[in-house]
């Protein structure tokens, strides 16, 4: 990390402003191991699984078929699902079915909502027309649309994608809008003083400055997209991770339900990593900056 060091007043060299530090590690002692970050991470995770296993073994949450599944049973169930077909699809097929819905719905929303948000921030007429409609529909939870969308589009893919688009549209648009509104106004002055026109202000200040906010919106949208796809699949589906969970519930197999939950978490985490990687690629300046 670069240091905010003072300039060297004596010489004209300024290359010595970044000061590197060598950390003296010292001897390995018990205290050092006990306070080590990675050691504590391991302890907390092992403790979590042990507590889970203990709760399952001692039947605290009821015995029989509805009991809490032990961790190894969940793993076992996932291995079975990965090899044997459930409703003509293996686990991977179900993961892909859900991911596909998320990606399609999320992409449609992002492609429409981000430019619309930018437009609203840049043009007050667009803003005046779109904003009241948006404010009217914004507080409505996307999941409340499930029933009507099944009536309109049936139980196929369209209704699920529709729910995801509705859910992810709001944060995409809001963040793009706020991203532009919160740009430091003096940066526009800089462009104008350097000989730029209105077009240059938008191209060289507006867009790059709102990138971090847009990506924050995309991240929020992505987690909402997974919530929406799960809700839609729980209501009606023949494939997807939500379907696995519903099947687990109907068959009284807690291991299947928990397995489905774990895979959803993993899939959502994976897509989040993809967006983070894209963000790092597209805005390398943002790292280490707080509050742009």
């Amino acid at each position: 990390m670069s240091q905010e060091a003072t300039c060297n007043a004596a010489g004209s060299s300024i290359a010595n402003e970044t000061v590197g530090q060598v950390v003296d590690r010292g001897p390995l002692s018990l205290g050092r191991i006990l306070t080590n970050r990675w050691f504590l991470h391991t302890v907390s995770i092992v403790a979590f699984f042990w507590l889970w296993d203990w709760l399952a073994r001692s039947n605290v949450l009821g015995g029989g078929s509805s009991a809490l599944a032990r961790p190894y049973e969940v793993l076992d169930q996932l291995v079975v699902l990965a090899h044997e077909e459930l409703a003509e699809l293996t686990l991977w097929g179900h993961v892909w079915a859900s991911t596909q819905r998320v990606v399609i719905g999320f992409s449609i929303a992002a492609v429409i909502a981000v430019p619309l948000g930018l437009f609203m921030a840049l043009n007050r007429y667009v803003n005046a027309i779109v904003k009241p409609l948006f404010d009217l529909l914004k507080p409505m939870p996307p999941i409340s649309w499930i029933s009507i969308s099944i009536l309109w589009f049936g139980i196929g893919e369209t209704s699920k994608v529709f729910i995801i688009v509705l859910g992810t549209f709001v944060p995409c648009l809001l963040n793009a809008y706020n991203g532009v509104r919160l740009v430091e106004p003096e940066l526009y002055d800089v462009v104008r003083m350097l000989g730029g026109k209105r077009r240059d202000e938008i191209l060289h200040v507006c867009f790059p400055a709102s990138f971090p906010a847009i990506f924050a919106g995309l991240q929020i949208s992505l987690s909402i997209a997974w919530t929406c796809v799960l809700a839609a699949e729980l209501v009606s589906a023949r494939s997807g991770l939500g379907y696995i969970i519903v099947q687990g519930m109907n068959l009284s197999q807690p291991a299947m339900v928990i397995g489905g939950m774990a895979v959803i978490a993993a899939a959502a985490w994976g897509t989040t990593l993809l967006v983070t990687a894209l963000e790092r690629k597209l805005c390398p300046w943002k790292r280490k900056i707080v509050g742009l």
Binding site: A5, T6, A15, V190, R192, L194, H204, F211, W285, K288
Partner: protein
């Protein structure tokens, strides 16, 4: 070269309340002259600079540059901001290249100009750095190089070192003098720091301390360059601008 004729500016706050910021300011700046506008905070001096830059329009009065009236911002005036205002998404090189690029120069000329001015401000080797990797002093060097790269007829500096610590500030003042001597331009420099004004100025325009800002007095500084900030130049700094004595290189002009 630059003429401000009876410039006044009144801001309107909350729809009704009028706040007079500048009143009847007239300044003449000669070519290649280093003029410092000196005044305390909230005296309208930054507004005056923004009017010369074309970012604000005067309520009454006119500003002319080489006889042509200033009607808006333009590349013939280079502005250096108090808060640096670098583009965080661009590298040092990208920031400095911005001006010539916006003015439509061919890309090889843009690169040459940028490299020349990055070298002039002493940032060679930092071209690929992003602003957040630089210290305050280095950021303002980028700001100066960026304004210089357009080869403006006038450089306008708005309290450029106000956010720096005292040591860096003195160093940057020396650097400003060196850069100005190497690439002479007309400079209008706004500050609230008397030492800074005395170190840099050919002429000091003192602005009165309360709104609306008026030109209190103008002083010619005849001290030989380069001046020495640390060992004393034979005069003591007065507590208030405007109370300079005579006979020590600083002389008030007749009103």
């Amino acid at each position: 070269m630059i003429e401000c004729r009876n410039v006044s500016k009144t801001f309107i706050q909350k729809g009704k309340q009028e706040v007079p910021v500048l009143e009847d300011v007239s300044i003449d700046v000669q070519a290649n002259e280093f003029v410092v506008i000196l005044g305390p905070g909230q005296s309208g001096k930054s507004t005056l600079l923004r009017i010369i830059a074309g970012l604000e329009t005067p309520t009454t009065g006119t500003v002319t540059l080489d006889g042509e009236p200033v009607t808006g911002p333009g590349a013939d005036r280079g502005l250096v901001f108090q808060g640096y205002m670098l583009f965080p998404w661009k590298t040092v090189l990208g920031n400095v290249e911005m001006g010539p690029k916006l003015c439509g120069l061919p890309s090889n000329e843009v690169r040459d100009l940028a490299m020349h001015y990055i070298d002039l401000v002493g940032l060679s080797g930092f071209e690929k750095h992003y602003p957040h990797q630089l210290s305050g002093g280095m950021k303002q060097r980028v700001g100066i190089a960026r304004a210089y790269a357009n080869k403006p007829r006038v450089m306008l500096l708005d309290e450029p070192f106000g956010q720096l610590d005292a040591q860096t500030r003195i160093f940057m003042e020396q650097e400003t003098e060196r850069i100005w001597q190497t690439d002479k331009r007309t400079v209008i420099f706004v500050t609230n720091n008397t030492d800074e004004a005395l170190f840099l100025a050919d002429r000091i325009v003192a602005i009165e301390g309360k709104l609306p800002g008026r030109v209190q007095r103008t002083y010619t500084v005849d001290l030989p360059r380069p001046r020495d900030l640390t060992s004393g130049t034979g005069f003591t700094f007065p507590a208030r601008p405007g109370s300079f004595g005579t006979g020590n290189g600083v002389s008030p002009e007749p009103r």
